[in-house]
């Protein structure tokens, strides 16, 4: 039933946002991690709590493969996968997280009561609970992005695919009485990426770059065996 509902939602939507990450280009430099902090008002976690509570909506997972001297480091940026069949959604008792018409897993901060069931049910461990009231030592608060709310203690947060940028792109397009065109919207991470490894776009546009990349032979989805149907496509490294 849930599958039918979600399919119906995405079919009726005007846009289906998705992100492709080309692991053959990615250098693991973490420019995207800092870009995400700068864009989304993610507070710095007190050092004493850093190991347990640091919030990086986007992280670089890395693994060693092989043994010295033929050893390799493998790595991939991981953020909310914006699943079509999101395990986080049905467990929220107050409907604070749901899938919107464009396939984004939206988090409603002022509805969240902090049960953390969603984080518990997320196989990607990309949801973060605000254990602390966020603080910015004066005058660091001058940098805060006015397009993004500052989340209080007690609520859950995660990558939004920079929904504020999506909204801005849609408004700009509607003022010109047109659809959002491919390349109009970039998430903060994809915009910053020096190796141009991240491509954001609309899957409902068959000519978009993301549609073509997602259909490539190298495209995979993280833990796809779980059936979560993520909207993040990893283009595996070529051999």
């Amino acid at each position: 039933m849930a599958e039918e509902t979600n399919t119906a939602l995405t079919e009726s939507a005007q846009y289906r946002w998705a992100l492709a990450i080309d692991l053959d280009r990615c250098t693991g430099c973490e420019a995207c991690v800092v870009a995400c902090h700068a864009e989304n008002n993610i507070p710095v976690t007190p050092e004493s709590e850093a190991a347990a509570s640091t919030k990086h909506w986007l992280r670089i997972d890395r693994y060693y493969e092989g043994e010295f001297p033929d050893i390799k480091m493998k790595y991939r940026p991981v953020m909310c996968q914006q699943c079509d069949q999101a395990p986080c959604e049905p467990v929220c008792p107050v409907y604070a997280t749901y899938q919107n018409g464009e396939g984004l897993n939206v988090q409603v901060y002022n509805r969240c009561v902090g049960t953390r069931y969603c984080a518990n049910n997320c196989p990607y461990t990309v949801r973060f609970f605000n254990w602390f009231e966020p603080e910015w030592p004066e005058p660091l608060e001058l940098q805060l992005n006015p397009d993004v709310s500052v989340r209080p203690a007690g609520v859950m947060e995660k990558c939004t695919f920079c929904i504020q940028r999506i909204q801005r792109g849609k408004l700009d397009a509607s003022e010109e009485d047109r659809r959002v065109e491919d390349g109009d919207i970039e998430t903060a991470c994809s915009q910053s990426c020096p190796a141009e490894a991240m491509i954001f776009g609309d899957l409902s546009d068959s000519e978009s770059k993301i549609s073509k990349l997602a259909a490539q032979g190298r495209a995979t989805q993280l833990l796809d065996e779980l059936g979560t149907q993520p909207r993040v496509f990893y283009l595996e490294r070529a051999k």
Binding site: D22, C29, E30, A31, A38, T45, A50, I71, N145
Partner: protein, 714 residues
């Protein structure tokens, strides 16, 4: 103004700003009588600028919007509306950044709004190094320094800086010239003196070679962590992305040879773990195979070929630490490639690094790719001086007054402390109290880079480039640009220097080109810096290489092998660069790419060494060298070369604000005083060490894999 409308913005007249409500574009332009930095925009504006976090010179665009700054006025706290900087991104028009930006560049906004920035000029009241400073007055500072300079022998004036070529370096050069003093000098750490010296010796080029990675199909990077903390990480990451997946039917192959698995090693198709000091041997061995087995280099002179041919190949390969199979394979791949390229560098400097980089660069001559697409290109010339290294120890011993700008010498070379202590007057232009500013008699804080007008020549660029910024926000505090401070001092000395402004830098450059009939475009600063963030030309340097022969020499290490059985190699990371990045909380919180550590930098050791020392992740160990000892937590790195201890440079500040001070240790503090033999710069990768347990510790790692799996089995 929106990011995507940036191109449209550049067509708007200087001094104009868009205003409006609800995000709708407005037609009204503010009168040009309102200076740009006094406009508080209600909706976003994007202004071009240049990143100064390192010397790469990436063009950026800066998002400016209204914010409320808390001020004390008549004893009351008030909120004052100001034009605040919200975000820094790459400038899509800039050929270096191409609209992209590294983490350090993006975090630069935290330097601007750092709570521990100096609010005005200071003078020392306590002991040197104690950072006990009291408020001073700009006039008092100018007057005192002018009267000191009046009495001093110009030979005893020293200016320490970084290797940036800019309107700043030109002003400093004019100031020092007017006083009759020697040119400004770098401190020889993280200034790429080795790569410059090798390029000069091999090709006769002044500047860093430009590697055309994007058009190569096979790249061997030898000693150059070009995707990490090397010369121009954003430019080379963009080129790497294109090299890998930007061309239909062609995917470039990258082999990386270095004594640690660096970021470039991660991205490579294969990493060759070169023994520390074996970089030259690997270059020579590959050169030998290219000449003897693959028949390359027939058209180069015998003197050039000699260093590669007059060797015992088996012994040379053995000295590399890389298997003969891999060395031969790599040489064969280079010989077979359509567009092979060797990127030569010394991310970790040894005593023979100029020879090693020269030998590696010489492979490009053998491969015949110098000046070719996908090969190595000559650097473009700069209209401004780029400060060079001269031994700071010797300079400081003779100095009576030292100016320190854009660099923290006591962090990069803690051994300079005694020499600096003997200098009568130390003047720092730091915007936060760093190790050297804590030693200074006067701290005259510069504007933040994002508040400053500047013209910068990028370290490496595809063609001629002058990247810059106008001022577009009002400075937050009572700071002064260094140019203005020097002008004030010079005025009092009746030396009246015509200081180089960002405006004059552009206009002089264009006038010089115009005189030579090489430029027919507009000649005004506003047409470039204010509107698009720089002037760039496709014209590359036509300098022909001279192909001088490399003189080989063996690497030396300080400390006897019996007392110090391990090799110690600090390295520059993409997070902290020259150490100044440690001040910024975003960078402290960003996990270290290798160890995933946050808020600290562990020592990386191999599992065998860890087993012998009974060390596990997080244990606190002591690194002892002939120069002293430090303590750091251990990270057992499965990819560390056995017997090699690596540690990222960046932590271990006593000062530099609340996020850096008192945290971790500075690996450069235990580097022995070994010099690179041809340049004299600090060979910070030429020290032997030993380890001993110092106690239990912790390692704050972000990686869930590390936190949740068993410790590495020993």
């Amino acid at each position: 103004m929106e990011r995507r409308s940036f191109f449209k913005m550049v067509g708007t007249a200087s001094g104009a700003a868009l205003t409006g409500a609800c995000g709708k574009p407005a037609a009204e332009l503010l009168p040009i009588l309102v200076p740009e930095e006094q406009i508080v925009p209600g909706v976003e504006e994007w202004h071009p600028s240049v990143c100064r976090e390192c010397t790469a010179g990436c063009g950026v665009i800066v998002r400016v919007m209204e914010a409320h700054h808390k001020l004390e006025r008549d004893g009351e706290s008030v909120l004052h509306p100001i034009a605040a900087i919200k975000k820094v991104e790459g400038n899509p028009l800039d050929p270096v950044s191409g609209g992209r930006l590294c983490g350090r560049g993006q975090a630069s906004v935290q330097r601007l709004y750092h709570p521990d920035r100096l609010r005005g000029p200071k003078k020392r009241t306590g002991d040197r190094g104690a950072a006990e400073l009291s408020d001073a007055d700009w006039d008092e500072a100018h007057e005192t320094l002018a009267s000191l300079l009046r009495q001093i022998d110009p030979a005893r004036i020293v200016w320490l800086t970084r290797a940036e070529s800019s309107s700043r370096s030109a002003t400093v050069a004019r100031f020092l010239d007017a006083l009759g003093a020697s040119a400004a000098t770098t401190v020889g750490v993280n200034d790429f003196s080795v790569e410059r010296a090798a390029a000069k010796a091999l090709y006769g080029w002044d500047g860093l070679p430009v590697y055309e990675i994007q058009d190569a199909d096979f790249v061997l990077s030898l000693g150059a962590d070009f995707l990490g903390g090397w010369t121009s990480p954003v430019l080379y990451a963009r080129r790497f992305g294109h090299f890998r997946q930007g061309r239909p039917q062609t995917r470039g192959t990258l082999i990386h040879a270095e004594s640690r698995l660096s970021q470039t090693g991660w991205a490579a198709d294969r990493w060759l773990p070169v023994a520390p000091g074996g970089e030259q041997d690997l270059a020579v061995a590959i050169g030998n195979l290219l000449i003897e087995e693959h028949g390359l280099g027939k058209d180069v002179g015998e003197a050039f070929r000699a260093p590669y041919t007059n060797i015992d190949l088996a012994a040379t390969i053995a000295a590399t630490g890389v298997s003969a199979l891999r060395v031969r394979e790599t040489a064969a791949q280079l010989a077979a490639a359509n567009a092979p390229l060797v990127v030569a560098g010394a991310s970790i400097v040894r005593t023979n690094s100029v020879a090693a980089v020269g030998a590696a660069s010489g492979l490009n001559v053998l491969l015949g790719n110098v000046g070719k697409p996908g090969g190595v290109k000559a650097p473009t010339t700069s209209p401004f001086p780029r400060p060079k290294f001269s031994d700071p120890q010797a300079r400081l011993e003779e100095a009576e007054i030292v100016f320190v700008e854009g660099v923290d010498p006591l962090y990069l070379q803690p051994a300079l402390k005694d020499a600096l202590a003997g200098v009568e007057t130390v003047v720092s232009f730091a915007s936060m109290v760093d190790e050297t500013a804590a030693f200074a008699d006067w701290v005259l804080p510069d504007h933040d880079a994002l508040e400053s007008a500047a013209a910068v020549v990028p370290e490496v660029a595809p063609g001629a480039a002058l990247t810059g910024a106008a001022s577009f926000v009002r400075p937050l505090y009572d700071t002064r640009p260094v140019e203005e401070t020097l002008s004030e001092i010079a005025k009092r000395l009746e030396k009246g220097i015509d200081h180089v402004t960002a405006h004059s830098a552009y206009e002089d450059t264009f006038a010089a080109l115009d005189e030579k009939d090489e430029w027919d475009g507009p000649l005004e600063f506003a047409d470039y810096a204010e509107r698009q963030g720089g002037w760039w030309s496709d014209a590359a340097s036509s300098s022909a290489p001279e192909a001088g022969a490399t003189v080989l020499e063996a690497a030396r290490f300080e400390g006897s092998e019996s007392d110090y059985p391990l090799t110690f190699q600090p390295y520059f990371s993409s997070r902290f660069g020259d150490g100044s990045g440690a001040a910024l909380p975003w960078l402290q919180e960003t996990p270290d790419p290798t160890s995933s550590a946050m808020w600290e930098a562990p020592m990386e050791i191999d599992p065998g060494t860890a087993a012998a020392a009974q060390a596990s992740n997080g244990d606190l160990f002591r690194i002892e060298t002939s120069a002293g000892s430090i303590q750091a937590p251990v990270y057992v790195n499965p990819a560390a070369i056995p017997g090699v201890v690596s540690m990222a440079i960046g932590q271990g500040h006593q000062h530099l604000g609340r996020d850096a001070s008192g945290r971790g240790t500075n690996p450069l503090a235990v580097v022995a005083e070994a010099a690179e033999s041809q340049t004299g710069v600090l060979a910070f990768g030429a020290t032997r060490c030993r380890l001993s347990k110092a106690g239990d510790g912790t390692l704050r790692q972000f990686s869930i894999v590390d936190r949740e799996t068993e410790p590495v089995r020993l």
